[in-house]
């Protein structure tokens, strides 16, 4: 990569706060207590219905039919309201974004690359970072106690490497394994830059990523900028579906949120932060499994604004197998619920910061209410078809949703100038892909509320980063 340079080795002492509690029998007792409480309440409600129903004009069958129809109607209204609200806000954001370009702000930026067993992809990842269309930055690789030869590979990259316009300093922090949050904190603390870019070790950034993202920091109210995550390993049925999900589900919502500068999750593969905002938030925390959602909420709670930059693209590897996808979504769901629970005081008190309350309710709806509503609506249609023979109902339901998804996919793909071949996936996207994800989300939610232990999972990388993306 470059000729041998003098490398200085220094010993560091890093804070390792938020140590994980050792499990005791208390957790099991807590789960048992919760199950007893929720079971008793449910039983009480069923008994009340059974005893009071004969005194009303309703029969049990008509009650079930009535309740289901009302629920479906509410679900449909909420669904349509959500879609059109997002569509209008996303459109307003794109208008605003297109006509209010701000350039001419080029501060020094530190790119923090936390790596854990990324030996296959780290060299390619750093090489791509050296090609960035920006002159004023450094790269800090944080090896989070990898058990493979990531350290040896990363060590070879340390030095002043030839960048696009100037020599780029590449440093390496080698620390014992402690999780992504602690690795990022070590990198941010070592960095002296006012703007830090946090990414994943297996991700690759678009060439003008920094240039387009940092210009928003000329507004002193902006605390962070969320980038645009795209699926790298496409051309497979499963990853293509995820590519559409990232465009239609995640980026579309992010664009809408960005109109009010209240993006609710800065994605892990690309987040650009003002150092002051990270310090105000108390750095990344290790007490949730979605450290990116947690730090976003903390930044918003401190009154900072968060913007979305669609041109700051990070290409990342998506899970190729179902169990890997479930593992990822399980972690995301539980992590988001943990982050919401951390800020529950702001959820119920809009007088402190109305913006964060609005964001928290949005997250609460997406993480908890929506999956349950989707599952129950599908169950109802299956029940109606099998028991009453109304099989055409499920077809109309599916056709309505597919039409809505097709229209949204068309809009999102046109805005992002994405691959048109992804549009047909919208036909099966809602009914099958999202249903599978929602079942996983619902199960994870139940586990989270029962307090069942979970561990961080590491997605097996296939090393699919190409030489040029």
């Amino acid at each position: 990569m470059a000729e041998k340079q003098n490398i200085r080795k220094t010993k560091l002492t890093l804070a390792n706060t938020k140590a994980t509690k050792v499990d005791t029998g208390e957790k099991k007792k807590k789960i048992f207590r919760r199950m007893i409480t929720s079971g008793s309440i449910s039983l009480l409600m069923i008994l009340i219905i059974i005893f009071t129903l004969p005194h009303t004009v309703l029969s049990l069958n008509s009650l079930i039919e009535f309740a289901t129809l009302v629920s479906l109607f509410i679900f449909l209204i909420v669904l349509l309201f959500r879609y059109f609200l997002l569509l209008i806000l996303a459109y307003l954001y794109i208008n605003n974004y297109t006509f209010k370009q701000k350039n001419g702000f080029y501060p020094f930026v530190s790119i923090i690359v936390p790596v854990y067993n990324e030996a296959k992809v780290i060299t390619q990842s750093i090489k791509s970072l050296l090609k960035l269309d920006y002159s004023n930055y450094e790269i800090i690789v944080v090896n989070d106690g990898s058990s493979d030869n990531t350290y040896d590979v990363a060590k070879e990259l340390v030095g002043f490497q030839k960048g696009r316009y100037t020599d780029i300093k590449v440093s390496l922090i080698n620390k014992p394994n402690g999780g992504k949050a602690k690795a990022l904190n070590a990198g941010i603390s070592y960095s002296k830059a006012e703007i830090v870019l946090c990414m994943d070790g297996d991700s690759e950034l678009s060439e003008d990523c920094i240039k387009v993202a940092v210009r928003h920091f000329s507004d002193p109210a902006i605390g962070a900028v969320a980038g645009n995550v795209k699926v790298l390993n496409r051309k497979k049925f499963f990853t293509d579906l995820q590519a559409l999900e990232y465009i239609e589900g995640l980026n579309f919502a992010r664009a809408a949120q960005s109109f009010v500068k209240l993006v609710n999750i800065i994605p892990g593969p690309i987040g650009i932060f003002r150092r002051k905002a990270v310090e105000d938030a108390g750095y990344y925390s290790s007490d949730t499994f979605a450290e990116d959602a947690d730090i976003t909420l903390k930044i918003l709670a401190n009154g900072w604004k968060i913007y979305y930059e669609p041109l700051a693209i990070s290409y990342t590897e998506a899970p190729e197998k179902l169990h890997q996808l479930l593992k990822q979504r399980y972690r995301w769901t539980r992590g988001i619920i943990q982050a919401i629970r951390k800020h529950k005081k702001l959820l119920v008190n809009p007088t402190v910061n109305f913006g964060i309350t609005f964001v928290l309710w949005g997250m609460f709806y997406e993480a908890l209410i929506w999956p349950i509503m989707n599952i129950f609506s599908n169950l109802f249609f299956i029940f109606a078809a099998l028991v009453y023979g109304f099989s055409s109902l499920i077809l109309f339901w599916w056709a309505g949703l597919a039409l809505l998804d097709l229209a949204t996919a068309l809009y999102c793909i046109a805005v992002e100038k994405e691959e048109v071949r992804l549009i047909p996936y919208a036909i099966i996207y809602r009914m099958f892909f999202i249903l599978t994800i929602d079942i996983c989300k619902a199960m994870s939610t139940v586990e989270e509320f029962l307090g069942i232990e979970m561990t961080w999972g590491k997605l097996e990388r296939v090393g699919a980063l190409p030489a040029n993306t």
Partner: protein, 161 residues
């Protein structure tokens, strides 16, 4: 046969299959995860780490001609000025943890007017009449103009004694 019942049957079967598949996959995932689960252990409050950083370059190469239009290098040439101490503590703990750190590269330093010392006057030796007029109390001796301050102090001390 009509199209709607056929399509409805396909969708119904597909939805039921998705349900079964999703729940089955979730159960399998949980079984798979539970095999590799290990009990977590308490962690220390500080951990030792190692920093590998390049020595500062004597002169940094900047390809100025290739810089994009409008993009300004903030520090050219950029030679890192920070030198980590033998045992620095990176992550601050306690009350000062949230104090902002200033970048040596980008932080705007407050403007301090340069302190310029006035040129000293010659204590001994012949002085020009123009310089003599600037100072009121100068004594003219055979050696030229001499300050009267020292003499005044000495006189005062003598008087006090």
């Amino acid at each position: 046969m009509e199209l709607i019942p056929i399509l409805a049957t396909i969708i119904l079967v597909a939805t039921i299959s998705t349900f079964i598949l999703a729940i089955g996959a979730y159960i399998l995932y949980k079984i798979r995860e539970s095999r590799g689960q290990q009990a977590e252990v308490a962690q220390p409050t500080t951990i030792q780490a190692e920093l590998l950083t390049p020595e500062a370059l004597e002169q940094q190469i900047v390809f100025e001609s290739q810089l994009p239009a409008g993009q300004v290098m903030y520090e050219q040439p950029r030679v890192p000025s920070y030198k980590p101490a033998a045992e620095p503590i990176f992550v601050k703990q306690g009350a000062g943890a949230n104090q902002p750190m200033q970048s040596p590269y980008t932080a705007a330093k407050p403007f301090v007017a340069a302190k310029v010392d006035k040129p000293r006057r010659a204590v001994a030796g012949p002085a020009s009449p123009a310089s003599v007029t600037d100072q009121k109390f100068m004594k003219y001796t055979s050696e030229g103009y001499v300050s009267t301050k020292e003499e005044t102090k000495k006189q005062g001390a003598l008087k006090w004694r």
